[in-house]
């Protein structure tokens, strides 16, 4: 199966899980925007699989934008870490797969997240604790508003922690709407470069660009700013801030799934 198909499957699982939980709803927009990045990372780059997931010798994935756990679960299902039943327990009462992910190393979830701006610090600690692994952190553009993110960014540059790769899913939106209207973090590339990071900007829906960026040899901590479309792949969700978190009804579910075929 090619990587494009994997990405579509991840999108379908995001929709399926978000629909299965009914009126509890899901974070569709930000989950769909990162689906292509997740497909390439898990399919082609990261040394993390159901066999090595509990071992010390492995790469690590840190979901800093924890509200998009739906995309992580969909990816973990696609790559065999969790079952379909587990995927569909998304947001069920007492589930191991709630709206914001909870640490479960055996499923490939290393960080309990949901509160934003905490993933990079945690990843840097992992990098210091186990130097032989690559650690990929998926952050959202909105969470770069958090001061804690910049504390971590400063530290990574100062200590030149090359094993950490930060991916920013830059869908240009946040909870209240467009980031440019709320709190734009203008020109992150320059800001991160000033903190001694290497920065590359890519189209977050171009599979070749994603793989090239993720596979890049690193002499500095690397930030990949991936320009993406919130809700990518489902016409009525694309670029629509309402779908940051929303309930998906049966009709919309059918339409979304048909568009992803």
């Amino acid at each position: 199966m090619n990587i494009e198909q994997k990405a579509q499957n991840i999108r379908k699982s995001i929709i399926e899980a978000g629909h299965a939980c009914g009126v509890k709803g899901g974070h569709f927009g930000g989950s769909l925007s990162m689906a292509d990045l997740m497909a390439v990372l898990f399919g082609k780059v990261i040394h993390l699989n159901p066999e090595n997931v509990t071992q010390m010798v492995r790469d690590r994935f840190i979901l800093s934008k924890g509200h998009c756990a739906q995309a992580l679960y969909a990816t973990l299902y696609e790559y065999g870490f969790i079952t379909h039943e587990q995927l569909l327990s998304f947001n069920a009462n007492g589930s191991d797969f709630p709206s914001h992910c909870v640490k479960k190393t055996e499923f490939g979830i290393d960080l309990s997240s949901g509160s934003l701006g905490l993933g990079l610090s945690f990843a840097l600690g992992q990098a210091l604790g186990y130097k032989q692994s690559n650690i990929y952190v998926m952050a959202g553009n909105g969470e770069l508003n958090e001061g804690s993110f910049w504390e971590a960014a400063m530290f990574a540059g100062h200590k030149n922690i090359c094993s950490v790769c930060l991916i920013v899913d830059d869908n240009q939106m946040q909870l209240d709407g467009l980031s440019q209207d709320i709190m734009p973090v203008d020109d992150w590339a320059q800001k991160l470069k000033a903190f001694h990071w290497e920065v590359v900007e890519i189209d977050g829906h171009n599979f070749e660009d994603i793989e090239t960026a993720l596979s890049r040899e690193r002499n500095k901590p690397l930030a990949i700013i991936a320009h993406t479309v919130k809700g990518k792949g489902v016409s009525f969700m694309e670029g629509n801030p309402e779908w940051h978190h929303h309930v998906l009804n049966d009709e919309q579910y059918a339409l979304a799934m048909s568009e992803l075929e």
Partner: protein, 330 residues
Amino acid sequence: MMYDMQTVQHFSRISSRGVFGLALTDIEQNMPDLRVVVADVMGSARLKEFAEKAPEKFVNVGIAEQNMIGISAGLASTGKTVFATTFAPFATMRPFEMLRTQLGYMNLNVKVVGLMSGLAGGVVGNTHYGLEDLAITRVIPNMTVLSPADGVETYKTICVAASMKGPCYIRLSGTNGATPVYKEDYDFQIGKGIVLREGTDVAIVATGSMVSEALRASRALAKENISTTIVDMHTIKPLDTKLLQALFAKHRLIVTIEEHFALGGLGSAVAEYKSCFENMPPQLIIGIPDVFEKAGDYAYMLSQCGLTAPQIVAKIIEAYKNLRGGGRES
């Protein structure tokens, strides 16, 4: 460690935070997985020697407490035993959410050490006082909360904390020159309060720097014919409820003393537990009043907050006399 008189005096001279750095430096060579993360307090925590001896085990994140806890959590997730430290208010309030979400929620093996807690900051003022650290750390599930009474107990606390699993907050109070409570070795176990003196009328349960004040108060109270049991409650969570039950059964008045807001700390923890039962003795909670006092040196602040031994004695005498039927046989 030999706790001879020379050591006890040395511990008193360097204060609890100095003992903390010393203890970590001593145990470092037997702990390959030990890591120490500081937020620009290497000197204050007496960790310079540690950093020189074991640079690979030492991380200074600068003045960035949120990042300190995040990095500590990440380190712990790779199997390391991590001590993270800065001054108590900055170790607990600035990164409170990280303590709760990254240490408590994920149950990670990080020991957060709050230096110079209580009023020990003296003239540096309220920004640097640790007035609410017990209150905010003890509400976090999985978190063990420790508050050693003096240098010897600080040393023992650090060693025991290093060998336990799970998140822990260690509150270091008192200043250099503090009166030692312990002058020889003794059995220290997390969750087991220590009865330092046995009496019949009033049980005084103290923690941290206030244990030595409680002992002083006890001697003065004896002259007033009030017999006191003195307990060093070095563990705030899990609370030693077995010992508390024994104290409740044998005494007419329970007194808690802490160099912490009277709200939310040891006194509250004891009262919460006691409230579950009928016919319990009343409790006098002695702690820092619910105001921000104007700053002064440590002795001045203790006096302003009513935490000197004579002030404690006066409060206990008054409370004891006001018991139903007056004090014992009076």
